[in-house]
């Protein structure tokens, strides 16, 4: 079915865009790469009166380095992450995660801001943001605020974004040099959203784990961090099997629901398998970095 009729504006500046969004409130919907919004429109699951195309807002394409972090503009495309263009190369985790998003067509158009604002529970970038303890920069006509990723994702496809607000950038604290990382995911078919994805970042200190972080997608309404497992791994030495044992010893602190692609039980199982695989590979990479 074609979309329900709507008006279309493509403002030339961020200020104009924010003014439009303030004026039209709940009636307006920003459009970035359109890879999630356009299907919602044609399925008539979204029926905005006005679509505000962000494509001309060049200020949202910037990538900046700040002390200890990378700030990635909302309109940076998945393809740029995948290729590690320019400063993005400073965070190769983005490269690995972005390569797993959808297919080449989706990556050519989809944007960082769109993915994070859309907040699909199975999406990779929100999980990366959680794994790195990142934050999002939100702007409205009234001003700017910065929200931690942990507070930004509120529920399934629901975020802390208020009407009239745009996500302008994501902030990614860079892991210490020598950190290892990995993304492991499982999907039913090539090019699909993951059923479950695991993002792991491991920092070592003399052969023992100084800090391990794991974020999971697809196991609940928002990306989950595994605090108890992370704590248990601290100080653990990484001879073979240690990670698998640590994962197997305690139930993961997740409460997935079943759907047509996987039962709750199978998601829980996949979460454990992928967590172990991601942590092992991240630890191995960290180990190599030390040598």
């Amino acid at each position: 079915m074609p979309a329900a009729p709507f008006d279309y504006e493509a403002p030339a500046t961020l200020a104009d865009a924010l003014d439009l969004l303030r004026e039209r409130g709940e009636d307006a919907r920003p459009l970035a790469g359109g890879q999630s919004l356009v299907p919602l429109l044609t399925l008539r699951l979204a029926r905005p009166r006005l679509v505000v195309d962000l494509d001309r807002l060049h200020e949202l394409r910037a990538v900046r380095r700040t002390p200890g972090a990378l700030e990635v503009g909302a309109l940076v495309r998945h393809r740029a992450l995948e290729r590690g263009e320019g400063l993005l190369a400073l965070c190769p985790l983005l490269q690995e995660a972005a390569a797993l998003i959808g297919n080449a067509r989706v990556r050519a158009l989809g944007t960082v801001g769109g993915s994070v604002a859309h907040a699909d529970p199975a999406a990779e970038l929100p999980a990366v943001l959680r794994a790195l303890d990142g934050a999002v920069v939100l702007r409205s006509a009234r001003g700017e605020r910065v929200v931690d990723a942990g507070d930004f994702f509120v529920g399934m496809l629901t975020t802390a974004l208020a009407p009239g607000e745009l996500l302008t950038a994501v902030r990614l604290p860079l892991p210490s040099p020598g950190a290892g990382f990995a993304v492991e995911e499982f999907s039913r078919r090539a090019g699909d959203f993951a059923v479950v994805a695991a993002v792991a970042v491991v920092e070592l200190d003399g052969g023992a784990v100084a800090r391990a972080r794991v974020a999971l997608a697809g196991v609940g309404p928002v990306p989950a961090r595994l605090d108890r497992l992370e704590a248990a791994l601290r100080g653990e030495r990484l001879e073979s099997g240690a990670i698998r044992r640590a994962v197997a010893e305690r139930p993961l602190e997740i409460d997935p629901e079943g759907d047509i692609h996987a039962s709750a039980e199978y998601r829980r199982h996949l979460a454990a398998v992928l967590t172990a695989r991601a942590l092992e590979r991240a630890a191995e990479a960290a180990g190599r970095a030390i040598v």
């Binding site: 079915m1 299907p39 039913r188 996949l270």
Partner: protein
């Protein structure tokens, strides 16, 4: 056939060549006008209002607000349809249910029986207005209890989907004494299998345009496998059959989903009511929601074998979910019943099959048509027998493989070559040496599955096809044939056949297809019958023409007719004597010799047979094949992926080997999707899979290169001894994968699709139940 296959191949000039299809270039350059591409001045857009409930009474429909909407030309409900019922007849049913005159309502009147059933039609100036008008139609539904599984439908107190009761059709086969043979068998395997509800998922959803011609004829140009639906359109409108014409453009995939009426009747109604051209294009969601799908079956097999693995007996119970309307269910069930013992000699067979109404989406024709669902049953059973007895999978099949002259359990003797054992051997051997797993967490396994699939329709339908072949004054050739081309190269193959028979290059042949007013009727592009039927009809016409032209050429060349050959657009008698075809045609005109012929081909015909008492011929013939696959299973996630796939079929003769390989590869990939991931999920009648994000079909990245092996036995009932290959290759993959998974990780999956979760559960990786 007196001539050896090799000698025939040697003699043929055009048949057997890998020719690019004449329609390929236009398709690639987007110049082909598919059904939805057709535009006409003043054309309206049509749309369908569909029931959100799977079982409900309609207590009121108010169309006044929709009709008053500016730009709306017509709003139709059941009351506006002159004859609101389409009938399907299934002659020869040996059933307790009695001869079946099954109904499908055009538009629901007081009762809806499945979610997505059509309730009202709209035609409007634009698609937007039509969609808006649909929202303005006010329908009051009173939800009713429905039945959503065949088990529930068969309970005595179950709500009735139709007044006559929930059993729509039954078939029984009795051959020998299965129970006694099972009691005496050395090894008995008993298992229940389930195969799922799946969609055709063609590239091109249902679409068409209808208009009223100057002479009052209702013309429907629609994506269809059956232009003969002009009769249904006429019956519904209450018009004489000769006042409706159906034109079939090139179709973007049918697979049986465009065998029943789709948009044709709706378009006819809207065009007739408004007097204006109307277009209707269904969305993917609509197609996935509301079109008839493949029958899910429950298959219970008890199979007995001797110590050496020879098959002795099958007792088989089949239950098919027919959904809410009969469509072709009774026939699909018959195909299942006839082929349930597989391509093997089994002396004692008992089959009890029934199709049951539910409030699920209707099910009807889909590539393989009941016969393909059986492969999971008989090939899983034979594999387990081999495993039980420690036999090689090829050896166990070779022991019982059908041979020419053997009889099927329904009593039909096989009177052409039967390549089962050869196909199994060649497919298995082509896998080559096993390959190493890609990680320590993977296991590799192999599986084999053979099949048989009828080509051509039931002999008691007395099938026939006609085609017209003519020579123009310049020696170019015209073929007219009512065959719809659904993308399988149906039209192209006819060019090759006519070119071969008349000694011209295929580019000298133009083929006009699929117009019920202008092309001789050739019947449906279904049942693996078009190359067989319309190919034979073209060959009959072209051969008559050839003989006539040759006689005239002999006069011109002043030689005995036996010395004249038609080749390269000329008639020759030895190297010296030659006359151009164009000149022979002119001479024919001068002499009053016809330069065209109407060829009619009649398939072997017979009366309905009693399957319980000896039976006899049911189908003209069968195509046999075998697939071998190598899978790799991830022992942590349960995911199985197919790494190699060899597909071997005897096609008698490959008219165009490239088209044959295309059919084999396409069918195999479709079978892989069926085996591994495709599933329409219906929760109490509500379809949860109405987009390609939820209904998963394999992409190119999910399947290996399918390696075709084409056997040309030189024996078959089609033109030049060809056998049909449209449906057969979809049969074996699912069973081959199930067999390979057991080989890899030792668990038997009996329910399709074989998802990672099912394997993980069978491996004991999931704790709870």
């Amino acid at each position: 056939m007196a001539e050896s296959p090799a000698a025939t191949r040697e003699r043929l000039r055009v048949v057997g060549r890998r020719l690019p299809r004449h329609d390929a270039r236009d398709k690639v350059l987007a110049r082909t006008l598919y059904a939805a591409d057709w535009q006409m001045p003043g054309m309206l857009e049509g749309a369908v209002l569909r029931s959100p409930y799977p079982a409900a009474r309609i207590t009121r429909i108010d169309t006044s607000r929709a009709a008053a909407c500016p730009g709306v030309a017509a709003v139709l409900t059941a009351r506006d349809v002159p004859h609101n019922i389409l009938w399907t007849d299934v002659p020869g049913q040996t059933s307790v249910v009695g001869p079946l005159r099954a109904r499908v309502q055009v538009l629901a009147d007081d009762q809806v029986r499945y979610q997505g059933e059509a309730v009202a039609l709209v035609a409007a100036e634009t698609r937007e207005i039509a969609d808006r008008a649909l929202e303005l139609i006010d329908v009051a539904y009173e939800a009713q209890p429905g039945v959503f599984t065949t088990e529930d439908a068969l309970r005595p107190d179950a709500p009735r989907v139709h007044e006559e009761g929930n059993v729509l059709a039954t078939w029984r086969v009795r051959c020998g004494d299965a129970d006694t043979a099972l009691a005496r068998a050395h090894a008995v395997v008993e298992q229940t299998y389930r195969c799922g509800l799946i969609d055709h998922a063609y590239l091109e959803p249902e679409a068409g345009v209808a208009w009223i011609d100057a002479d009052g004829v209702v013309v429907v140009r629609a994506s269809t496998q059956v232009i003969e639906h002009f009769r249904d359109v006429a019956d519904v409108l209450g018009l004489p059959h000769n006042k409706v014409r159906v034109i079939g453009p090139y179709v973007g995939g049918g697979f049986g989903g465009k065998e029943d009426v789709t948009v044709e009747v709706f378009l006819g109604l809207l065009a007739y009511r408004t007097g204006r051209p109307v277009r209707m294009v269904w969305s993917r969601q609509e197609s996935l929601l509301a079109r008839p799908k493949r029958h899910p079956f429950t298959l219970r097999y008890r199979t007995g074998a001797a110590r050496d693995g020879t098959l002795l007996a099958h007792r088989i119970e089949l239950t098919a979910d027919a959904g809410a309307y009969a469509y072709l269910s009774a026939l699909v069930l018959l195909y299942a019943t006839v082929t349930a013992a597989g391509p093997y000699r089994v002396p004692h067979v008992a089959v009890d099959a029934r199709a049951v109404y539910t409030n699920n989406p209707p099910t009807s024709a889909m590539r393989g048509f009941g016969a393909m669902q059986m492969v999971l049953g008989y090939e899983s059973q034979i594999d387990q027998i081999a495993r039980r007895l420690g036999l090689d999978p090829v050896e166990v099949r070779r022991r019982s493989a059908l041979r020419r002259g053997d009889r099927l359990p329904v009593g039909q003797a096989l009177d052409t070559h039967v390549a089962v054992a050869e196909a199994a051997e060649r497919a298995w051997a082509a896998l080559g040496p096993p390959r190493a797993p890609s990680s320590p967490r993977h296991r590799v396994g192999r599986g084999l599955a053979c099949n048989l699939q009828p080509y051509g329709r039931l002999v008691w339908l007395r099938d026939w096809a006609s085609a017209w072949v003519g020579l123009e004054a310049d020696g170019s050739v015209v073929v007219r044939c009512g065959v719809p081309d659904v993308g399988g190269g149906q039209a192209s193959s006819l060019c090759q056949i006519a070119a071969e028979a008349l000694g011209v290059e295929p580019d000298r042949v133009t083929v006009h297809i699929a117009d019920s007013a202008l092309t001789p009727l050739a019947g449906t592009t279904t049942a693996t019958r078009q190359l067989y039927m319309s190919g034979n009809a073209v060959l009959v016409a072209a051969t008559q023409l050839h003989d006539e032209v040759r006689r005239v050429a002999a006069r011109l060349l002043e030689t005995p007719v036996e010395q004249v050959a038609l080749a390269d657009g000329a008639a020759t008698a030895g190297p010296e004597r030659r006359v151009l075809l164009a000149d022979v045609v002119k001479e024919c005109a001068r002499l009053g010799v016809p330069r065209s012929h109407l060829g009619v081909y009649h398939a072997p015909a017979g009366d309905p047979v009693d399957l319980e008492r000896g039976g006899g011929r049911v189908f003209p013939d069968y195509t046999f094949g075998a697939h071998a696959v190598e899978v790799e299973v991830d022992v942590d996630t349960g995911a199985a992926s197919v790494r190699r796939h060899v597909a071997c079929h005897d096609v008698g003769r490959a008219i165009n080997p490239q088209s044959v390989e295309g059919q084999v590869q396409g069918g195999a990939v479709m079978g892989l999707g069926y085996g591994l991931m495709e599933e329409i999920i219906v929760d109490r009648g509500v379809n949860l899979t109405t987009s390609f994000a939820s209904y998963l079909i394999p992409s190119a990245l999910d399947v290996p290169d399918v390696e075709p092996i084409i056997i040309e036995s030189g024996d078959g009932k089609g033109p030049f001894a060809a056998r049909g290959i449209g449906e057969p290759p979809i049969g074996p993959p699912a069973a081959a994968i199930a067999n390979a998974v057991e080989d890899a990780v030792g668990v038997r999956i009996t329910d399709l699709p074989i998802t990672p979760e099912k394997i993980a559960r069978a491996l004991g990786l999931l704790s709870g139940g």
